[in-house]
């Protein structure tokens, strides 16, 4: 005759500790440098794929790129570095003050599209220079696609670590993906007007940040 299987009693803490201790194995420590390296690798791969698909804009090396190109891509790089630093630091559990460099970097970058829009709004009738390149909105799409690779690397870093602020990690992933993805694609784009680079190439940043805020937390929850 079969005897009913007794319902197992809830495991006591002592039993849990004994079992975990028995199963312990050596681990390789998670290092911030690995996180930086992985996100840098994702960005480089995104840039290489962009170059393969769209060809590198040689005007960058021929001195044809406008100041807007350098300034805006420089701001994107600063934001990319700041958000990557915040993201990697946040991938390891810690308490205490968090730097707000990504927020300030994003605020500085936000000045650019505002300036571009003001330029468009105050341009003389018939002045096409102010709106030059605005219709090439697909650049924003390509930059977002490049950002996917950066986001993938960032998510891998976060999953390997133990982020304790999922919402913040989501924002930072989006900011890093948007800014570094935009640079990765941007080296192939010959349009360097303020309107184009300042609006179309900056647009992926807020879009990716909002997507990151909502998509990333469920992927990194532990």
């Amino acid at each position: 005759m079969n005897t009913p299987t007794p319902t197992p009693a809830p495991r006591s803490r002592a039993e849990l500790i004994a079992s975990l201790s028995e199963e312990i194995t050596p681990v390789r420590r998670v290092k911030p440098s690995q996180g930086y390296a992985l996100i840098a690798l994702g960005s480089v791969v995104a840039a290489v794929i962009s170059v393969v698909l769209h060809r590198l804009w040689m005007g960058i090396f021929a001195g044809e790129a406008s100041s807007y190109f350098w300034i805006i891509n420089g701001l994107l790089l600063v934001l990319g570095i700041a958000s990557t630093a915040g993201l990697v630091a946040g991938s390891l559990p810690r308490v205490g003050a968090r730097g707000n460099a990504p927020a300030w970097s994003a605020a500085m970058l936000a000045v650019v599209p505002v300036a571009a829009l003001l330029g468009i709004a105050t341009a003389a009738p018939g002045d096409t220079h102010a709106t030059s390149g605005l219709m090439f909105w697909k650049c924003a799409l390509y930059a977002l696609c490049a950002g996917l690779l950066v986001a993938g690397s960032a998510i891998a870093v976060l999953r390997r670590g133990a982020p304790v602020s999922l919402e913040r990690s989501g924002w930072l992933t989006g900011l890093a993906a948007g800014s570094l993805g935009s640079i990765a694609y941007g080296i192939t784009c010959p349009l360097d007007s303020l309107a184009h680079v300042g609006i179309i190439h900056v647009l992926p940043v807020p879009i990716a940040a909002v997507i990151g805020r909502f998509v990333v937390p469920p992927l990194i929850r532990w």
Partner: protein
């Protein structure tokens, strides 16, 4: 007596290297530390479950501790993360309950957190939300009784509890 920072750090290095005896001592000491940590934050009957949950998280994520950094802030961050997760589960449960049923269950299990922590956090909530949560979730009044006592409609009481609990969970997550 709970182990001090250098002892924790030494045991943790040994645990990261796979030392079974050190791991056993470390987990026991961490358990005691966590018990103290949660004593002021969750109802007494929830402490052991939460401690065990954190011990498993601690064990799983042991590779994320860097010996060049302090151990206890790292442990506190994991404990707080699990606590927030616990609050979220409670919040989800409470929201579902409020949407499905007018009556309030008498289960203490779903009380959001111990009063000590709530008093400080309540200061951050709008008065109507804090009052609704306090009367229903801590005082044990029904939605109807709370509505009569506060002058809010029954729907408003439910909305205030729903929004207040959500905000509480967010406040705890943001607080460092």
């Amino acid at each position: 007596m709970v182990a001090d920072e250098p002892t924790f750090a030494r045991l943790m290095v040994a645990a990261q290297n796979g030392d079974k005896a050190a791991t056993n001592v470390l987990l026991s000491e961490v358990g005691v530390w966590l018990e103290r940590y949660f004593r002021r934050r969750v109802p007494p009957h929830s402490i052991d479950d939460l401690v065990q949950e954190v011990l498993i998280a601690f064990y799983t994520k042991r590779a994320t501790w860097d010996p060049s950094r302090a151990f206890l802030p790292w442990l506190a961050a994991i404990a707080r993360y699990r606590w927030v997760d616990h609050l979220r589960k409670v919040y989800k449960h409470e929201s579902k309950e409020l949407l499905e049923d007018d009556a309030v269950e008498d289960s203490e299990e779903e009380v959001v957190m111990a009063r000590v922590s709530l008093d400080r956090l309540f200061g951050e909530l709008p008065a109507a939300q804090a009052e609704a949560i306090e009367l229903v979730k801590i005082g044990g009044l029904s939605i109807r009784e709370t509505a009569e006592k506060t002058g809010q409609s029954e729907s408003l009481v439910k909305v205030n509890i729903h929004r207040g609990l959500k905000k509480l969970a967010a406040l705890v997550e943001k607080a460092d």
